[in-house]
């Protein structure tokens, strides 16, 4: 017998240790299933913890503090010019934020008896896979959950990333603060990381292919952010495509409306599913033309033994969707009547101001129905917004005109990402505008905006 011939038998093999994967595995373990996670880097947290949500929010918090300090001059406070120690910043992010959370996940896995196997999982059939890499072995499973997530997409025709052309993962390492940074892509990743680098001192130029920032988001929510970015960023080019990109040792020449030079370029043009190289062709799992694994609302693929969750199954590519799907898949495997039938997957852009929305947007309603009444509350009338010196926010609700049911909600302003939770609960539980209006909201808080919006419909 040679190494690798040993076949490990488990109830559930989870492929990928990101938020979806570990949520699924932990729930499986809680339900009494013998569960392992196979992760290429033998760690839990995935892109979310190591090169996405968490480090970017840590850095955005730094940017927000700097912005607050700057604005504090209006209140009569002057802290002088900030001095940034990049080493201290990186250490704080890596140790106190990412490291701490990673250690917590490792301990949780241990506590629940979920083993993390290091290596790349490749299916060999519907009931078995092999692990390639540091811990080679064969695993025979009753069920597998594909949770391999997504990776940053690259621009077709542009040179491979390296050196001065970064993706979101490398940008978050903050190797340096370039004097001039070009951000390609006006989606949430480009705006968030552009905000970080601008706060740290880079002169940021943004190029977006479509005619607006954050395509798909209601324009009235984007507007306060767009206004803020006009001062934070040096240049914003809409309806603009990058034609060529030439990298040399100390700069990158980029052609769009003339040639400009940048020390670094960030490509943030979306993400693509990580579904190739998994040996899916040896199973009955089907993928669509974009590479997403096709699943039903029980997270089942077309192979009865294999489930899939998270980014690899399609949009929206958000960690909290993956986590919910992970729990659904675990419960379905355990024979419980679970389904991923969630009405809303809230979305948050963690810029300053923040933008958040859930459920039906006004744009979707206008384009494809159903007809809605839109109730808006401008924060100019909010006491709490005035005390924060941030009166440019907005809260809005999309309401079914017949029943008064809340179908969607959006907010822009500081803390919008936290505010959206209440609206998500309202939409998910099919609450009525009247329910929001008649619920006492603490005064003075920004959350009153939901109540105020709803009240405009009841007059």
């Amino acid at each position: 017998m040679v190494m690798g011939d040993l076949v490990r038998e488990v109830d559930v093999a989870v492929i990928g240790g990101g938020p979806g994967g570990y949520s699924a595995a932990f729930r499986c373990a809680e339900l009494g299933l013998d569960t392992v996670i196979v992760d290429e880097r033998k760690r839990l947290g995935g892109a979310c913890l190591f090169e996405g949500c968490i480090p970017s929010k840590a850095l955005l918090h730094v940017a927000a503090v700097m912005h607050e300090v700057e604005r504090a001059r209006d209140f009569g406070l002057d802290y002088g010019e900030p001095r940034v120690s990049l080493d201290a910043l990186r250490t704080w992010k890596a140790e106190r934020v990412v490291g701490k959370l990673a250690r917590g996940l490792g301990a949780t896995a241990k506590g629940k008896g979920v083993e993390v196997i290091g290596g790349r999982a490749v299916f060999e059939e519907s009931r078995g896979l092999r692990v390639e890499g540091p811990e080679p072995q064969k695993i025979r499973f009753k069920h597998a959950i594909i949770a391999t997530g997504s990776v940053p997409a690259t621009l077709p025709g542009l040179p491979a990333l390296g050196g001065r052309v970064m993706d979101s993962g490398t940008a978050l390492e903050i190797a340096d603060v370039p004097q001039r940074l070009l951000v390609i892509g006006g989606g949430y990743v480009g705006l968030e990381l552009g905000t970080v680098y601008a706060a740290l001192g880079s002169r940021v130029t943004l190029v977006e292919m479509t005619d607006g920032l954050l395509p798909g988001v209601d324009r009235d929510l984007v507007q306060p952010l767009a206004r803020r970015l006009r001062t934070l960023f040096a240049e914003v080019h809409l309806s603009t495509k990058v034609a060529t990109l030439r990298e040399s040792s100390d700069h990158v020449d980029v052609e769009f409306a003339g040639v400009q030079s940048f020390e670094r370029v960030l490509v943030a043009v979306g993400r693509r599913p990580q579904s190739s190289g998994l040996g899916l062709e040896t199973t009955r799992v089907r993928t669509d033309e974009r590479g997403y694994v096709v699943v039903d609302d029980h997270c089942r693929t077309s192979d009865p033994h294999i489930y899939a969750i998270g980014d690899v199954t399609g949009e929206p590519l958000l960690a909290h969707r993956a986590m919910r799907q992970g729990k659904v898949a675990a419960e379905v495997i355990a024979g419980r009547p679970a389904a991923f039938d969630n009405v809303v997957v809230p979305a948050v852009v963690f810029t300053d101001p923040e933008i958040a929305w859930c459920g039906l947007t006004e744009g979707q309603a206008a384009e494809a129905g159903p007809p809605v009444k839109v109730a808006k509350f401008q924060w100019a009338a909010s006491g709490r917004a005035a005390t924060l010196g941030r009166s440019d926010g907005l809260t809005k609700l999309m309401i079914d005109p017949d029943s008064g049911r809340v179908l969607g909600a959006g907010a822009v302003g500081p803390g919008a990402g936290e505010l959206i939770a209440e609206a998500a609960l309202a939409v998910e539980t099919a609450a009525l505008a009247e329910d929001l209006a008649a619920t006492i909201h603490a005064h003075p808080t920004l959350s009153e905006g939901w109540m105020e919006s709803a009240e405009t419909l009841l007059r």
Binding site: D296, D297, G335, P337, A339, G369, P370, S403, R405, L407
Partner: protein, 416 residues
């Protein structure tokens, strides 16, 4: 106008199917015969091909749902619509047999906890009228719909997979089980759709039919020589010769001689229904459980053809690709457990058939022939049959005919 596609009649007591997978999306333009849905019936998991080409306008079913024959599965946009761009337009009007009108706006109005309750009770929320504020479906609406559907149309409730559903108990009230947990840890596993079906059919058969079993043995030494000699030539033609093909042929010929075993009893009418066709079922063990594919008109097919079809049929079943026609219409069943060893088994009749032939492993045995002890390859056979229809002597004669054919392969091949 939309053209609805209804769950076709699945035949033979199959009145419902569980939707396992939906293989198309709304807006897809598909060709006739492209796979539309994957369903699991009492008998197998099958793909349902599209009866027409066109654009899928609306999908009315979801995986996990159990649907009745005649329920609308999918609406197709008709030929005139097909040319139109498949871009989202105003909400489509769908054919009559779609779920009752729901609120125009958004998804079903119910809290996540109510939706879970609906799944537990197998209720399709879209069919429940909400009485809560703004038309919200409440817990009591869901429970009420279960009561009313039970009262008016029994068994109309769709059951999601992997939910434990009590088995029918064939009229006998079973005593409560002890609490096994008091003696050690236990694990409860819901029965799969197929397992439940097998359990119910076996309970039905064993409770209703007075089973009687006749034992016999066939000397297949000569037959075995013929099979071995012809293995390679057959393989060159892509055919795997197996004992089971000869068993099928022998059984079909014996059934023609004893038609009482190729029948079903109609107790209500007080009649025996003799079938003038010889479609034989073969029990196949699969990962999911026992499945019995059916080979048609075995009596009319030359042996090589039987062998060829048997290989293809078994493969389709194991791959989960058997069609409904592969699985219905059987008149008699053979279960060959030889590959798994054993010296004999008492199979249960595949209701509403009359008899089943069980075959164990053939072994060399010391047999006395004309005063001499000689080694012969002996095949144990058990014929189990319905004593309401046939008596021990009938069974013995029928079994003897099968034995005769197996022991005289030349006559078997010449169908004498």
């Amino acid at each position: 106008m939309a053209r609805p596609f209804l769950l076709p009649d699945l035949g033979e007591g199959l009145t419902e199917a569980e939707i396992v997978g939906v293989l198309v999306h709304e807006g897809d333009v598909i060709q006739e015969d492209a796979p539309l849905l994957e369903v699991e019936t009492d008998k197998a998991r099958v793909e349902i091909p599209s009866p027409m080409s066109g654009r899928v306008e609306k999908i009315h079913v979801r995986p996990g749902q159990t649907v009745k024959v005649g329920a609308t599965l999918i609406s197709f946009a008709d030929a005139g619509d097909r040319a139109a761009a498949p871009a989202p337009t105003a909400p489509v009007t769908v054919a009559r047999s779609t779920p009752p009108e729901t609120r125009a706006a958004g998804p079903v109005a119910a809290t996540p906890a109510t939706r879970r309750l609906a799944r537990e009770l197998g209720v399709d929320l879209r069919l429940v009228k909400g009485t809560g504020p703004g038309g919200r479906v409440t817990d009591s609406d869901v429970k009420g719909s279960v009561d009313s559907s039970r009262a008016t149309a029994p068994a109309a409730e769709p059951a999601p997979p992997a939910v434990a559903v009590p088995l029918a108990t064939a009229g006998i009230e079973l005593p409560a089980l002890p609490r096994f947990e008091q003696w050690g840890p236990v694990e409860r596993q819901p029965l799969s759709h197929l397992r439940r079906t097998i359990a119910q059919r076996m309970t039905l058969s064993a409770s209703v039919i007075p089973h009687v079993t006749h034992f016999d043995r066939a000397d297949i030494t000569e037959l075995d020589v013929i099979i071995r000699k012809n293995l390679d030539p057959a393989r060159e033609r892509g055919v795997t010769l197996t004992l089971t093909s000869f068993l099928l042929k022998a059984a079909a010929l014996a059934l023609k001689a004893y038609p009482g075993f190729n029948a079903s009893l109609d107790p209500a009418a007080g009649e025996l229904i003799l079938k003038r066709y010889y479609h034989l079922g073969i029990a196949v063990a699969t990962e999911r459980g026992l499945i019995v594919p059916v080979m048609r008109e075995v009596d009319r097919k030359p042996l090589v053809e039987v062998a060829r079809e048997l290989g293809a049929l078994a493969q389709r079943v194991r791959d989960g690709k058997a069609s409904l026609d592969d699985l219905r219409g059987g008149t008699f069943t053979i279960t060959n457990l030889g590959a798994l060893g054993g010296t004999g088994a008492l199979p249960i009749i595949n209701y509403p058939e009359v008899a089943i032939l069980g075959v164990a492993r053939g072994r060399e045995e010391a047999v006395v022939r004309e005063g001499q002890i000689t080694a012969r390859l002996m095949l144990p056979l058990t014929l189990t049959f319905d004593h309401r229809i046939a008596d021990g002597a009938d069974g013995a004669r029928f079994a003897a005919e099968i034995v005769r054919l197996l022991e005289h392969p030349d006559q078997l091949l010449m169908e004498l």
